[in-house]
Amino acid sequence: MNGKMQQSSIIRIGSNQQQTLTLNTLHADEHLTVYLEAHARLTFIQTYEHNCQGAFIISFILESDAQLEHELCIETTGTITGNYHFILQQKGASVVSRARILLTGSAQCTITSEQSHGASYTASELDFKTVVQNGASYSYNGTIVVAQNIQEVTAYQSDKALLMGKECSATSIPNLQILSNQVRCGHASALAHIGEEQLFLLVSRGIDSSHATQLIIQGFLK
């Protein structure tokens, strides 16, 4: 099923159902709550291109053994604010979320996320990669929360930004709040630029420097 969402919508994926939802228009202020009932599987894709701008708050609430696969693609020179809340409230729920963001010129992107583990045997994994070019700015604030007295939780979070050109800035705040010891949690974040050595290697193989830069960006976003 392909669905198109309005502002302040609630979506419910029924028990044992498997669905794909795509979202490619962005409103000024969009609120969305997605319920995944027991054993539901959802692939949720957000694609924002052509310099769109706006803000969204999306909450995913997962019941037992529900699975969410989330993808976010942004290419913009505008201002985007995104807020995710992944609530793994019952046993066996799992979330995989990937974001690939390309910001150019006057783009400003602020993403916050919270992975709330409220039940045992839940897993979440966030993998965000952003290219920040020529004056753009990017800010990420992510939190992993593991409630008390639950077992066998794995939660990971990775936020990587590649800074290119002049006047760009990036902020990364990955937080962990862990109240249970039967867990494996981690986060990693990196803010870096394209190394002279990498470029030199490619240029010395006969690739012109702008193509070489593109190749490195592609490699980074993979």
């Binding site: 760009c168 902020t171 990955p174 962990l176 862990i178 010891n181 974040s189 990196a190 803010l191 630029h193």
Partner: protein, 443 residues
């Protein structure tokens, strides 16, 4: 004036008069008091609501600082002394029931050797009289009184602490230990330490110790300032094991000039609440900073620690390694800031935080912040939280080790990166302390 609790202008003036301070210092204290009174309590971090500033002695007449009796020292502290193998003379000093230490003679010989090279190592009150120009030049230049509420408090009522001045190209091979210097004043409540390393100098300063320091006062609020001039290197090692009634709220900051290296090695074992974030401002090109810290949060303890590094110049490098262990309901928090300012091209920074949770009741939080306003940089952060794995315990169990011993061994491995940075005698004590702390705390 009788000893009285609470803080006001009269108390501050009294402290300054008692120390026979120059006028500028009295003014500085009074300004700081105004700032302290105006500043609100921090709205973040550990809960400080039980801390009552008017219920603390800020000034005690020297003659009235009565000695305590050995029988007043809590039993838990005595057993820790036993476990660590602390010698008798040291015990009385640490417990605050005596004030003599046998190493004083050894230390005097060393002191002469350093003094011949122009090194100044004294308490800061003495330095204020013997080297007033040096103290005035650097005092409060790294941490101004308005930096935060507790820096303002310290600035108003400071007492005790060290002054270290190392002339250009002088390298002090043995660690300077506050331990030796402090006899009568003991471990100050509001101490103020100032370390200046001239170009090319090297000094390793060590304060605190792994044995528990028993205090009846409930607030310890120190300020430590380091100025590392061009190509100098300063290493500052702290191990704190305050008794479990102490709020330990400390501000530490270093300024690293061109090609200077500053290292904070920071171990936090005791206290009720610790809030401590050693900072380094990498001000000159090629400056390097390193913070290696460990926090152990046991029953009823909050260890809110971290590090702050600001890159202000090109080719600067920094490395933060923070390890924490939470047990019996303790809360360990890493709170850090890494900032790369415009123009600091080719800066490199690494942050690594690892947390170990030993039981279900404990808690570990990580709040790192990274801000980069420069594109030619390389900044990385990694954090992990976990428990002692059953496989590791099982493996050691099959080799005949009891669960307690096995767990202590694994934990020693976990904090190895910290222990390796310590002088030998401290490293031995820390290993014993960990073994002692882990007794009866199997998760």
């Amino acid at each position: 004036m009788k000893n009285q609790k609470g803080l006001n202008r009269e108390v501050v003036i009294k402290i300054s008069e008692q120390k026979n301070e120059p006028g500028w210092m009295t003014d500085f204290r009074l300004k700081a008091l105004d700032i302290f009174e105006r500043k609100p309590m921090p709205s973040w971090g550990a809960d400080l609501s039980e801390l009552d500033h008017q219920d603390i002695y800020y000034y005690i007449k020297p003659v009235e600082s009565a000695e305590r009796l050995w029988s007043d020292v809590p039993e838990t502290i005595k057993t820790t002394f036993d476990a660590l193998g602390i010698i008798e003379a040291e015990r009385t000093l640490l417990a605050g029931v005596g004030a003599q230490y046998e190493s004083e003679m050894v230390y005097k010989n060393l002191k002469k050797e350093w003094a011949d090279q122009g090194v100044i190592f004294s308490d800061i009150e003495t330095a204020l009289h013997t080297h007033p120009e040096l103290v005035k030049k650097y005092f409060s230049t790294v941490i101004p009184a308005h930096d935060n509420k507790f820096a303002a408090l310290n600035s108003a009522v400071w007492s005790g602490g060290s002054f270290v001045y190392v002339p250009a190209q002088v390298k002090i091979t043995l660690p300077l230990q506050a331990y030796f210097r402090i006899n009568q004043a003991q471990f100050g409540q509001f101490e103020r330490t100032l370390i200046i390393a001239e170009p090319g100098a090297f000094v390793h300063y060590v304060e605190g110790c792994s044995a528990p320091v028993y205090r009846s006062n409930s607030l310890h609020s120190a300020v430590v300032e380091i100025i590392a001039h061009e190509s100098s290197r300063v290493r500052y090692t702290t191990i704190q094991n305050w008794s479990s009634n102490v709020y330990n709220l400390v501000t530490k900051r270093a300024l690293a000039k061109k090609n200077a290296v500053v290292e904070w090695v920071d171990g936090n074992f005791g206290s009720k609440v610790t809030m401590k974030y050693p900072s380094i401002i990498l001000q000159g090109e090629g400056a390097q900073g390193q913070v290696i810290s460990i926090a152990v949060a046991g029953k009823g303890q909050v260890q809110d620690t971290g590090a702050k590094i600001i890159h202000c110049a090109p080719h600067t490098r920094s490395h933060i390694i923070a390890k924490s262990i939470s047990k019996e309901g303790g809360i360990a928090t890493y709170r850090g800031l890494l900032k790369v300012l415009k123009g600091s091209h080719n800066a490199k920074a690494r942050v690594q935080c690892d947390a170990l949770l030993l039981d279900e009741q404990s808690r570990s939080d990580t709040y790192p912040t990274m801000q980069v306003i420069e594109e030619k940089v390389d900044v990385g952060h990694e954090a992990s939280v976990g428990k002692v794995s059953q496989e590791q315990l099982f493996y050691l169990g099959t080799r005949g080790l009891s669960e307690t011993v096995a767990q202590a061994l694994i934990i020693n491995g976990f904090i190895d990166v910290f222990v390796k940075e310590l002088p030998m005698e401290y490293a031995v004590e820390i290993n014993r302390l960990i073994a002692h702390e882990m007794e009866g705390s199997i998760g």
